[in-house]
Symmetry: none
Subunit: 204 residues, 4 copies
DNA sequence: GCGTAACCGAGACGGTACGTCCCGTCTTGAT
DNA sequence: ATCAAGACGGGACGTACCGTCTCGGTTACGC
């Protein structure tokens, strides 16, 4: 009979406790909800989880990486790749499910906090790009590739620019809080991205 | 003839020292350059400026508000409103002078740090919106209004969306560092904003 | 005709304000009552008296000297030289009026605070010895001199020792708070000072 | 057989470091010698001892309690209970060893500083009475009890008064610095305590 | 009656120490 | 080898007062 085995070799001594792992992530989520990433301390997480600080540091080097893990799975699972048959439909659906996930939610506040934290934590920055930015953008690229296949978009287009055009304004409003995000915003944004802003309708 | 008078009366005691004010802002700029906002300490600023900590706290409630003041004047003065005669030209010029100001510069690092700080300092958030976001966007709106007058853009368009479309991708790349910013990026972005991304050439 | 003249020449310029002087001493007394000498600050006195800090520093170099002046006149006026006709009576009367002045009173707490302050303020120490210890002891010496004249005490005796014997235990209990002071204590102390503690009744 | 166990359980985490404890007390003693209790800073002690401030605060709530511990053991060990066979001899010996310990010494300055500090620190006041006044007085009471057994002193006498009579004048002179302490003072004081000051020699 | 000098209240100044918070590491005995 | 507990050295925080200085303004004297 084969022993089930995690990817890292079993090693000697006492194995790491799954229970502690869970308790830490739960405590992190609770504290993130209560006071946000900026006011989160490892000390508080340890106390709330009933765990020694070393047990946390053994697994996550900084509070950013810990918060990221508590945040990522939840968030990503709520951003399914839409498939409505048109680029306009896909864009609108993706944008709205993003807005729903972050607007006025603790998830949104944590997202904001993580983006802030990424700027001061190099270790976290790597994880962020690899485990968050990259997979999310990969999904968005898929939407565009399907549109290219359908002939909705020229195949010569710079797809990175398109992804930025759609989501950067959303992130911008989330961070700068200068303007709200609602269905009106989503529609206007999708329209502008697809059609551009110059009034060339007539002469074409 | 009545003397015009500022709203606050002269105030009685010893007036605040302009020299200290200057020394504090200079020290802040120097330290911002040396180690960035995240590692900036009020204590260090005070010591470098040859000033008591209270003299700083008397003027700025948090290190964010202090850093903002040290940053804003410089930055804003380097973002002149372009007037090239076309929207495409104005957009490109504005984008490029922004990129030049922030890419690989201490100013850029400070801008990033401030956006991060804004997320954790309510007092700073207000100042940020009032003294930074609002005046910068006012300039950008001007560019578009001139384009509307020239007939380059429909007057029905949502100008807030346009401003976001142009600059949000730039801020996005600055913060997420997932892609670089260069002239190629600027051209592609301006094109996309003006023309949209859908291949409507044929059917129109 | 001689002009009556305070020791310091009148000088030019605006004379010091008696009203401020009074306000400062009153505020000092009030704050001494409220929170004691240890927690008294010049800043608080100035604010309470409606006076600038410099106005205080111009008159008193330290909070000890200020507190002393607020304390001394009051206290000394309540320590009249008794004259009962016997040393025992005088001792008892002097002791009891001292106990009444300090036991459980704000005056007593201030006296204690001043003795503590004298240990850390050289300027105050000089004033204390000159303006407090010396005049008080002079009075006590008088009591003893009268007793010598009456033949109650040998003229060879060291009167400094006697003064200490009577009052040092009282100060000691005030400062160490190890034992209370009451009429029983006063009687026992006076008896012991006059008769000594050795049981010499038999052999004499 | 049951294991005898101290009242407090062993405690779980890392035990407090004896080495730090020692370093702190040594640094305190050195600084007390250099500049006295009034100018002693917890910050300086921490730096001199190579220790964090919290390590000090964890053990002693105030600088008074810290200084007391640095002072007490040393001082008390130098005040042995004399046993010369007579009360006069014991009194004189006890008084002189006290004078030798405090007159012109850093120990004496610290004693003075502590008595001042006791007046402003309630926590310290309790410790002072329990760990200093009480044991010292217990010793002195012993001297008197032995004298009672030898018949030198009436058993009806108030021994608290006697202890005060002997030592209060010494403390008084230490604090008021109005008069010096020397062998002449010690002899005169012991004489006066034993014989009283009234000239009853004749009529007895 | 004008100038000047010392005073006044207010409050900012450079500075020191406070006592607290949290960091990331370490040292226990116990799994 | 890992666990919970909790002490460790360290760095910065924001506050409280210190004693001094700098304003505009007041009050008296001596010319």
């Amino acid at each position: 009979m084969e022993e089930i085995q995690t990817s890292t070799v079993r090693g000697r001594g006492r194995p790491r406790s799954d229970e502690s792992q869970r308790a830490i992530l739960d405590a992190t989520r609770a504290l993130l909800e209560e006071r946000g990433l900026a006011d989160l301390t490892i000390e508080d997480v340890a106390q709330r989880a009933g765990v020694g600080k070393t047990t946390i540091y053994r697994r996550w080097p900084t509070k950013g990486t810990l918060a990221f893990e508590a945040f990522a799975a939840d968030f990503l699972s709520r951003q399914p790749l839409p498939d409505t048959g048109s680029l306009r439909g896909d864009f609108y659906a993706a944008l709205m499910s993003w807005i729903r996930a972050v607007k006025g939610t603790s998830t949104g506040r944590t997202l904001v906090g993580l983006i802030a934290e990424v700027q001061r934590d190099l270790e976290l920055a790597d994880i962020w790009k690899e485990k968050f930015v990259k997979p999310v953008r990969a999904q968005h690229h898929l939407m565009i590739e399907r549109a290219v296949e359908r002939g909705e978009v020229d195949e010569t287009i710079d797809t990175d620019i398109i992804v930025d055009l759609l989501f950067a304004p959303a992130y911008h409003r989330l961070l700068q809080t200068h303007l709200t995000m609602n269905t009106r915003f989503a529609h206007a944004l999708v329209d502008a991205v697809l059609n551009g802003v110059s009034s060339r309708g007539a002469e074409r």
